[in-house]
């Protein structure tokens, strides 16, 4: 009991001093569970997030855009890999986590349940969705859990490239034809509100925020990050020449921030609980890849076992 108290005290002190918790350190079960849930959801989001944009790789209208998009989607697979590796340091198993995802028992970002209807969506996803992801993720580079914080540093560097390529695509399209400008505005109209939902429910309704902030797993509240994203994005929209679809959006000099309208939280809850436009499709694709790949993974394991046996026999 005394030993248990000493461990708990050491954990608390580490958090207080802004030092990192490492895999072999003692940590409360609830901390382990919370970080694991967060890292697994993030990993799932990277992998599911390959689908909406990946659908446009084969149709990209220039070879340069094709290369950029292919590289971007490849990065997302890489991010998924680092994050599943971080989850494994907490005792999560990639295969089990994947099975929980395709069984609907674990969530991923609600944003990927919206469809990508035109090539402008590729640009808007880079600009708004990756932009929102960066706002969420940059503070996580200081997460109290070491392996997650380190994975986030690398991921954030790549995400900032992703955001730039999206914005650059939109800038180029805005200098193109009228039809292209209309495509961009239409995509902005469809993605703006779902992007604001990416920061999660309002602070008053967020069940995990208080504990996660105390543990320094989370460094800012959902509403703080949402505000930061809006403040960052409005001038970018002006430079781009698009309108953000919110009649209540205006600068508030007293607050020093932009005021903005109310997010449709009912839609958010429905999408997160499986009732969004593409939830079934996203999971079906992931499930098919997983199930159709089973024989390949089994073969790789069987071959590795054969080699190990032969090496042993030869020794």
């Amino acid at each position: 009991m005394a030993e248990q108290n000493a461990l708990a005290e050491h954990f608390e002190r580490t958090i207080e001093r802004d030092q990192r918790i490492e895999p072999r350190d003692w940590m409360p079960d609830a901390y382990r569970k919370t970080v694991l849930r967060q890292v697994a959801q993030h990993a799932h989001s990277e992998i599911i997030g390959m689908q909406p944009e990946g659908a446009w790789i084969t149709r990209a209208p220039s070879l340069r855009r094709k290369a950029i998009l292919l590289a971007k989607v490849q990065d997302e697979a890489g991010h998924g890999l680092y994050l599943y590796a971080a989850a494994e340091t907490l005792g999560g198993d990639r295969m089990e986590l994947t099975e929980r995802l395709i069984a609907g028992a674990q969530k991923y970002s609600s944003i990927f349940n919206y469809p990508t209807l035109t090539f402008a969506d590729v640009g808007v996803i880079g600009w708004l969705v990756d932009g929102a992801a960066i706002c969420n993720q940059v503070p996580l580079c200081r997460s109290s859990y070491g392996p997650y914080a380190r994975a986030m540093i690398r991921i954030c560097k790549e995400e900032s490239f992703h955001q730039r390529q999206g914005y650059e695509l939109l800038m180029t399209m805005m200098r193109g034809t009228d039809a292209q400008r209309e495509m961009v505005q239409d995509a902005v109209n469809r993605w703006w509100w779902p992007s604001l939902m990416m920061f999660g429910p309002p602070d008053a309704e967020s069940t995990h925020t208080a504990q996660s902030m105390a543990w320094k797993i989370k460094r800012h509240t959902n509403d703080e990050l949402r505000q930061r994203f809006v403040d960052m994005t409005v001038p970018q929209a002006e430079a781009l020449g698009v309108t953000l679809p919110d009649p209540d959006l205006r600068w508030n000099p007293e607050r020093g921030h932009y005021d903005f309208g109310e997010v449709d939280w009912d839609e958010f809850r429905r999408v997160i609980s499986g009732d969004g436009p593409c939830n079934a499709e996203r999971i079906a694709v992931r499930r098919a890849a997983h199930e159709e790949g089973a024989w390949v993974r089994e073969a790789a394991a069987a071959h590795a076992a054969k080699r190990a046996r032969r090496a042993k026999e030869a020794a």
Binding site: V138, C156, M232, P235, E238
Partner: protein, 314 residues
Amino acid sequence: MAPQNDTPPRSDMQSQTDTQPDASDNALVALSEEHDEHVRWAFGTGFHDPMAGVDTALPDGVDGNALAAYCLMLGDDALIMSHRLQEWCAHAPELEEEVALANIALDLLGQARLFLTRAGQADGTGRSEDDLAFFRDAGEFRNVRLVEAPRGDFAFAIARLLVFSTWRLALLDRLTASRDPVLAAIAAKGVKEVAYHRDHAALWTVRLGDGTDESHRRMRRALDDVWPYTEELFTAHDIERRMAEEGVGVDPSTLRAEFDAVIGEVLAEATLPRPDADARPGVGGGRDGVHSEELDALLAEMQSVARAHPGATW
């Protein structure tokens, strides 16, 4: 964290500079002010201009139209093969393979861009890589038939990649000695890439061949399916023969011995028999623009956005 200003932040860079947020928050880069400098920028592809400092004038005595036709052959092979690999995105059997297949697709796409650009220079039309990729019809594509066959299962993907990369590595290796400095430079870049592709395919051929009963059966069937396409790879087209005679290109019939030796070694290690299926009647003619319906469908998809917006810039 946001500035307590009386006026809206002029741009993201401005607000970041004014408030000096946590060092780790600086990854939020300015977007609105930087876009003009990076119009030609592509990231993450390992792509730098391999043509920098390379003389793009045509070598003495080389017919520009013949050289362009030759570049289209090698460019279209890479472009269509890359497309079939892109189709694996979000469908690979494991995440490591998502990364690897995308990487191979990216390398081949990079090669295609260089060959197509050279084709547009060589024939004097000044057509860009995009003009050639998106505004030619199937009958003008010069790729071999192997690359246009539908995606298939993972065993088929590996069998096709093994055959394709073994053949292409032998070809690019010889092309590094081309009298055309542009082709020599593209080949030198491509050799390093395709050597990795061949290794990757060979490793998987061995794993699948010498894995489970099911993987052995699937790999064997995939090789049987791919094999009828191999003869075309080694059948010299007039353009290829002529380019080889002029010291610019490679006669593919000279590559067979190296191909057979490498494939033989891989199949032995993989405990797989060498397929004995001969060329299938009607398979071939890709170099003359004779293709399958599958290429029509592939191009309809690949070219759909570009053709729907003529005059657009991307």
